[in-house]
């Protein structure tokens, strides 16, 4: 029997065939940059509104030991929390990012090496640290590393926060390694062929032609990882490293552990982290737009 009609098409005119239109996602798609895109996407006016509302809400739920007392206590502790607490979060994040970036660059290039042993080693190292929980790595480094090193009769102490730097730089290293690999791969292969035809060797091509093009592309995801790393530094508080959350807890203990202290003290940590990370997120998104493929 001959087919007389095709059910779908006959219902519509010829020019209204079912066509899959180009997909344009609304809102933040879940990818590596999800976090920064979400943070940077917050409108400043809503942030300002929240900043105004938050103390008002907090004050509304006052008990015997009032919220006023709790905020007064916070004011007393702010210098300590900031300069002996949050400053260490910033220090840890900057050092961990520096070490992670240098090591990650080496590892990323290692993943693209022509020598298979190097490539395999770099691949496995990347996968191990990219897929282990950060807290587990931190625990291992903090408890297994020595607290001082003796070199030629000179004893160099390693404070706990320095060990935290090493612990946090490992997962960052693995993720930077993937960024480098991805960025190099994203350069069209015709570039390699063109370089070869101009008798560039592999090293020259990589350093003089490919990497300069990758550099701009790597900045936004790199900053994204920096923001994530900064947010991850309070993990160290679980191990007693002196940073803002550890010190908030100690300050609350000194103020007799009134439950009313929880909102102002943890709220302060939230505000400080936001003030530090929000501009980074905005800048990252701006740079990403500027460097995007045209």
């Amino acid at each position: 029997m001959a087919i007389k009609y095709i059910p779908v098409t006959t219902q519509y005119k010829q020019d209204r065939l079912a066509v899959l239109k180009p997909f344009s996602p609304k809102g933040a798609a879940y990818d590596e940059m999800y976090f920064v895109r979400w943070l940077g996407g917050l409108k400043l006016k809503y942030v300002a509104l929240a900043a105004l509302l938050w103390p008002a809400i907090a004050f509304a739920q006052s008990g015997g030991y009032g919220m006023g007392d709790a905020f007064e206590a916070l004011l007393r502790w702010i210098p300590f929390l900031t300069f002996q607490g949050f400053l260490y979060n910033v220090l840890i994040s900057i050092f961990a990012m520096t070490i992670g970036t240098v090591a990650g660059m080496a590892l990323g290039l290692g993943q693209l090496s022509n020598i298979s042993a190097v490539r395999r080693f770099a691949y496995f190292t990347t996968q191990i640290f990219r897929n282990s929980p950060w807290l587990v790595i931190l625990f291992v480094i903090l408890l297994a590393f020595p607290f001082e090193v003796t070199v030629f009769d000179i004893t160099i102490p390693i404070p706990a926060w320095m060990k935290a730097v090493v612990g946090l730089s490992l997962p960052v290293m693995a993720n930077i390694s993937e960024i480098v690999r991805g960025a190099v791969r994203s350069v069209p292969s015709t570039q390699w062929e063109a370089a070869e035809s101009l008798s560039f060797n592999r090293t020259q091509t990589m350093w003089q032609i490919i990497l300069p093009q990758c550099f701009k592309r790597m900045i936004p995801p790199w900053m994204n990882w920096y923001a994530i790393l900064t947010m991850a530094t309070p993990l160290c508080s679980l191990l007693g490293v002196g940073e803002i959350i550890t010190h908030s807890r100690q300050a609350m203990a000194a103020e007799n552990n009134y439950p009313e202290l929880l909102v102002p003290f943890y709220g302060y940590a939230l505000v400080v982290f936001f003030v530090y990370c929000y501009p980074i997120a905005r800048l990252t998104i701006a740079l990403e737009k500027r460097f995007a493929f045209k």
């Binding site: 002996q84 000194a254 552990n257 009134y258 439950p259 929880l262």
Partner: protein, 278 residues
Amino acid sequence: MKNFMSISLLAAALISPSLATAETCENETWNKIMTRGKLVVGVKADYKPWGYRNSGGEIIGMEPDLAADVAETMGVELELMPVVGSNRLQFLEQGQIDILIASMTDLPDRRKIVGIPSPNYYSSGTNILSPKKLGFTQWEELRGKPVCAVQGAYFNKLVENRYGAKISAFQGTAEARQALRDKKCVAFVFDDSGIMSSLASGQWDDFEMPLPTEDAASWGLAVPKAEENCVLGRFMSGMQFYWHREETLVELEKKWGIQSTSYLAEQADKYADHLLDK
């Protein structure tokens, strides 16, 4: 035969130094403190009034005072290092701190890891803070009910195993107390001196400490395991003995506003110099 003799002699010569070191004291930690001229003591920084920070960030409290007394007696400088329940024993094992005075309960399994010289300098028991309305009178009534606690406290397990309470452990006391107020649990299990001081603060008028205090447990300060029966361990025993005899601990208890315990009075009487007045 000659060969056999020489081999066994050689073996004996090799073995004997290691046997000897196992018995004699190296006093490594003591010597390190003396050459460095500084004593590093692990104390709590989140356990008022035993060890906490003032708003300038310095660690103060009863245990830092004890540490200062130790350093003064030794004639060295003092450095206080904040520790928490989960890392204090490791710090001492690694040598990061020389001694540990951090409100630690003296337990057999802890004695396997570190040296705890007697006599113990303090003692506390376990009790609960719960709303008056619930009217608990026996520990058995906690069976199957949610009870808030602080992570790392040794009595959490006891209450769970012995009375079948469902423990939810929080990171800090503030969090655990907030959970009790939010009615997430029927009681907050903690040491009795801590509960008494919060009841005395006047913020917990609808709450009470209703049960008989259990498991009176001694607090011990700790030295590295190798120093237990050597100079440092013996010296710390002497320090604690004199803290009891001179009633230093009783005075410090008053200074830091801690409810006085019968344990300290008993110890002061036990170690008092009974010939002095005669």
